[in-house]
């Protein structure tokens, strides 16, 4: 499904990703862990096509197609979905309008008819229930004044609506209370499918109790320095990152809980 080879990326002239290699197959769930500032969000944003980050070397393919040649919106239509670590507030655009525009853009891409307002409203209400968001949220501005947890649930709601091939979840579990974590994990588990892959960035082993990953990777200093099965997450929880020989500068702010 997704193949990343020797990926280097910089922002404002500073190299953040220093040679990432990663293969993700359909049906798999991968977790990426690692200290603050190690490049996890950068990797996520680069996959989604954020032009603030410059890819200087390497390649990314999705089902054999070169992702780097596609614009962000084209990647989305090909099935890349990124749940943002910090979802963006857009006052003046209603959540409903945003979601419907997105869903219809996807449908149009697939040659399907657009959904009218009534049809979409029905679907949106169903899915907002699934992520335990009051449908009243649909009328508000995109993420406007949403609490941290509400924003994360809104990200999962979008994933459920858009049904991506590859869902990248950047710390969708942080800032959630126990109930919300359950709701979000149920949402992610609902996304799990034979023909879909999930890449989760997280600091917490607790999420991995709900969503059991097939592989766990440690990203530090812009490289994947260790990969393993789910037991790696447990080991990290117990021992921190020190034993992996991460240099101090790479754990500048390592507050892994």
């Amino acid at each position: 499904m997704l193949s990343i080879k020797n990926l280097h990326a910089s922002v404002e002239g500073k190299e953040i990703l220093k040679g990432i290699n990663l293969e993700i197959k359909a049906g798999e769930v991968h977790a990426i862990m690692g200290p603050n500032g190690s490049g996890k969000s950068t990797l996520s944003q680069v996959l989604a096509g954020n032009e603030a980050f410059e890819v200087t070397e390497g390649e990314i393919t999705l089902n054999g197609e070169n992702l780097l040649e596609l614009e962000t919106e084209e990647r989305a239509r090909e099935g890349i979905f990124l749940a943002f670590q910090y979802p963006v507030e857009i006052p003046g655009v209603s959540n409903l309008q945003f979601l419907r525009t997105a869903v219809n853009a996807m449908r149009q891409h697939k040659g399907q008819d657009e959904m009218n307002a009534a049809e979409f409203m029905k679907l949106a209400k169903e899915i907002s229930k699934q992520v335990d968001l009051d449908p009243a949220f649909l009328k508000r501005g995109v993420n406007e004044g949403f609490s941290g947890g509400e924003k994360k649930r809104n990200e999962i709601m979008q994933a459920l609506l858009l049904q991506p091939k590859l869902a990248i979840l950047d710390e969708t579990d942080s800032g959630l209370d126990i109930d919300a974590l359950k709701v979000v994990s149920d949402g992610v588990n609902a996304l799990r499918a034979e023909d879909r892959a999930i890449l989760m960035v997280t600091h917490y082993q607790r999420l991995l109790n709900h969503i059991v990953p097939d592989y766990v990777h440690v990203l530090a200093g812009g490289k994947i320095i260790k990969s393993g099965g789910r037991e790696l997450a447990l080991e990290l929880e117990e021992r921190g990152y020190g034993w992996l020989g991460i240099k101090d500068e790479e754990t500048a702010d390592s507050s892994v809980n």
Binding site: A48, A52, E73, F81, V88, G92, F98, T101, A105
Partner: protein, 428 residues
């Protein structure tokens, strides 16, 4: 040193003589006072950013003929008054006999009524600040007088469609005077449109005398063509506990200027002024507003948004003057500006003069561009770049468009905005 330019004498002579005598006399007197009137230049403070767009050539001095067919196909769900080149066209008007409300052409007034009106024309405007309005007073060929008796309520919006037919160069001087009796209510829509392509000037004056408890909603829609220089002035005087709400929506042109002056003269009076301006190409638009808090306990709330694309130029100048006796005034002015291209220019200036000590006065002005992160968020959901730009630009003015209380106007505005978006944003 070059002498300051003055108004060409060609502009001093009105064509028609069909007005009642007292108005002809007034017009003549105003014309005499205009001899050697200096034209605004870069050094004229209130025309600093806009004087370069004002291009009055002598062939534009002549009054456009008050005849021809109105080309307007605007749907008007409500009552309609039609003006062509500044003159009322009775056959194109549509309104029934209304209880307590009279709608008359200046030409139809009796000498007595005209004399009464002559005493009051220009009374709502500060002539120094709206120097170009004086030209209208010297040149108007006709006008619309709306009088509401106390308690009279107009049950539907009254559309006043001002069309100019620019078959040849010339000018038009539409004029409106609204006299709203105590506790009367009316919603007025002024629509300015044009046909033809010759260089013309439209110079308008609209005045509202808003007496105690009256409630006026005024909508002004400027949609004239690229050949029309438009200079409009609106004066409002408000008495005790009255309310005036204005919605100005303007699309740019070679010169677009609107002065809106509101005087809150009676305690408890309240005004709400909303404005949306959209410019593209090499267009211009300049809104100058003044709110005079003369009496105590008055509220004013002002929200203007400018969107400038391409090499266009938008100007906002908002003045709030709180007089010494206007204690407990509450004034809130907000102006936000969106630049859609590096070549566009927006100039914004709040001007506050506060002479009372117990007042609340807030003001804010910002100039920004579309937010890259918001744009990325939208396109990361598969939304096309063009559509994402449109969503974010609409987000900037949505609130103001939604507040326009007449659906047909909202639809007209949305249609024009869609056209603007089509020309401004392309698919990546």
């Amino acid at each position: 040193m070059k002498p300051a330019p003055t108004l060409s004498t060609a502009f001093l002579y009105p064509a028609g003589q069909s007005l009642p005598k007292p108005l002809l006399a007034l017009r003549k007197q105003r014309g005499t006072a205009l001899v050697d009137m200096p034209l605004p230049t870069r050094k004229t403070e209130n025309w600093k950013y806009s004087s370069k767009y004002l291009k009055l050539t002598d062939d534009m001095a002549i009054s456009l003929p008050a005849e021809g067919k109105t080309g307007s196909s605007l749907a008007v769900p409500g009552y309609k008054v039609a003006f062509l080149n500044g003159v009322m066209m009775p056959e194109a008007c549509e309104y029934p006999d209304l209880d307590g409300i009279s709608i008359q052409s200046f030409s139809d007034l009796s000498d007595e009524e005209a004399s009464d009106l002559a005493d009051r024309l220009d009374s709502t405007l500060d002539n120094k600040a709206v120097q170009m309005a004086r030209l209208n007073s010297a040149r108007f060929e006709d006008g619309l007088l709306i009088r509401l008796k106390p308690e009279a309520v107009l049950d539907q919006p009254l559309f006043i469609v001002h069309e100019v037919t620019a078959e040849a160069s010339g000018s038009a001087f539409p004029r409106i005077f609204v006299d709203a009796g105590r506790h009367s209510q009316i919603t007025l829509v002024e629509e300015y449109i044009s046909s033809g392509s010759a260089q013309v000037m439209v110079n308008t004056v609209t005045e509202f005398n808003v007496t105690e408890g009256a409630n006026i909603t005024s909508i002004r829609l400027n949609m004239e063509g690229e050949n029309v220089q438009h200079i409009g002035s609106t004066g409002v005087v408000q008495q005790r506990s009255s309310r005036f709400e204005s919605h100005t929506v303007g699309f740019g042109g070679p010169l677009r200027r609107h002065d809106l002056q509101v005087r809150l003269e009676g305690e408890g009076a309240e005004c709400k002024l909303n404005g949306v301006v959209v410019t593209q190409g090499k267009q211009h638009y300049d809104n100058h507003t003044t709110i005079e808090h003369v009496a105590a306990h008055c509220n004013s709330e002002e929200t203007y948004r400018n969107i400038a694309a391409d090499q266009s130029h938008a100007v906002f100048n908002g003045r709030i003057h709180i007089h010494q006796d206007a204690q407990k005034s509450n004034a809130d002015m907000n102006n936000k500006n969106l630049l859609l291209s590096n070549g566009a220019e927006i100039d914004t200036k709040p001007e506050l003069e506060i002479y009372a000590d117990d007042v609340k006065c807030a003001h804010g002005a910002t100039i920004g561009q579309l937010n890259e992160i918001s744009l990325f968020y939208l396109v990361s959901r598969g939304i096309g770049r063009r559509e994402a730009n449109v969503l974010l630009t609409m987000a900037f003015i949505n609130e103001l468009v939604e507040q326009i209380p007449v659906e047909a106007v909202r639809e007209t505005v949305q249609g024009r905005l869609n056209h603007f978006f089509e020309q401004t944003f392309q698919e990546a």
